[in-house]
Point group: C2
Chain length 223, copies 2
């Protein structure tokens, strides 16, 4: 999409440093991610990015079309942290468990990207496409019917995104407050879950992931 994709007669820019100016996609993305890491997504403003780079906010718009595009750059970097290597080495079930756990863990720290990603065309993100390729290859090698691979991937991904959002919730999110008393079954279940001492979000993620993968494998029609 960028330097790597300037074929033919496109105005070719020298590899490495640009000819003039201080800014760069790489520099902007890096500074942005640093801001997010230290202050969360509320700290990510065009002003803050510009300040971190010692430049005026309007200067950024010579290199990035919008804040939305900037967030796609961040997504590219974040997505690169997802570990999908297990598909090449492990049976599908275990590879899926590893991949999904890695995927979720990373997006717990980047929850504000989720509504964006869920809606963004993957064509803008080569790394995401590469990840899908590895996952799809895993399903194929396991003998899955081709037409069931995409729905299965999307289903797991939807669960991952939902779980990552859920993991950002406060621990006492289910506290019934003033409404306690009218909801015996729910309160009983809540008390029992608490008694296990498990983190609720983590517990739900593991339970749901195991269930979904078990269910997908059970319902799958193989070729």
């Amino acid at each position: 999409m960028q330097e790597s994709a300037t074929p033919g007669g496109a105005p070719r820019r020298r590899v490495g440093r640009p000819r003039s100016g201080v800014l760069d996609r790489e520099l902007i993305a890096r500074a942005s991610l640093k801001l997010v890491t230290s202050g969360g997504y509320t700290a990510l403003t065009m002003s803050a990015v510009a300040k971190a780079l010692g430049v005026s906010p309007s200067a950024l718009y010579n290199h990035v079309e919008s804040k939305q595009e900037l967030m796609q750059w961040i997504q590219e970097i974040v997505m690169d942290g997802v570990d999908s290597s297990a598909f090449a080495t492990h049976p599908l079930e275990q590879a899926l468990l590893r991949w999904a756990a890695s995927y979720r863990d990373i997006f717990v720290d980047h929850a504000p990207l989720i509504p964006l990603i869920a809606v963004l065309p993957v064509s803008g993100s080569p790394r995401t496409l590469q990840m899908y390729e590895e996952v799809a290859a895993g399903f194929t090698r396991a003998g899955w019917k081709q037409s069931q691979i995409i729905p299965s991937i999307v289903a797991i991904e939807s669960f991952i995104f939902g779980s990552a959002l859920d993991a950002t919730a406060p621990l006492d999110i289910f506290d019934p407050g003033a409404n306690a008393g009218n909801i015996p079954h729910f309160e009983g279940a809540l008390a029992a879950q608490r008694a296990t001492g498990n983190n609720s979000a983590e517990d739900a993620f593991i339970t749901g992931l195991r269930a979904m993968i078990t269910g997908l494998l059970a319902n799958a029609e193989l070729d």
Copy 2:
């Protein structure tokens, strides 16, 4: 939380019309929801709500603490549309399928609420608590081990929220664009899914929901 919950010596306000002023929680919530229905969540600004009510924006703050609280009011109303009645009449598996489908369908039209809800304490939403009670009762009647009920509910809910986000994605979201060619397994799977003629998001939702429920039932330890 509101008029209905003013026990004891709390300053009781007459039912129906307030003593003075034009505004009201009911009126504000209704006008807000109307804005959302007609123009989506980008149309929901404090200015727009005020304008719809023929009042100045600052007037709203006599009745609502923040836009965030206003969105909680909307959530209350939206949540009321989720159909959890099947738990009282149907076996757990079928009740879960119905409930989840209803839940997702509703939140496809209210995706911007999802990041909010996933993080909001349920104590502020009696209707949400009531829904959880019905779902928990369904699990209990089916003989589930108490400590597994909450994780199972949260897992399904996470999947629902993720799927609702996914359903707002453009149809061509998976189009590999310029990166086509390097990703044979993914492209093959994509072509096969397309050949079915099914809506991709719908397909993934049904596949994932069936899988998760199958898996939860298979992995469950009953009492």
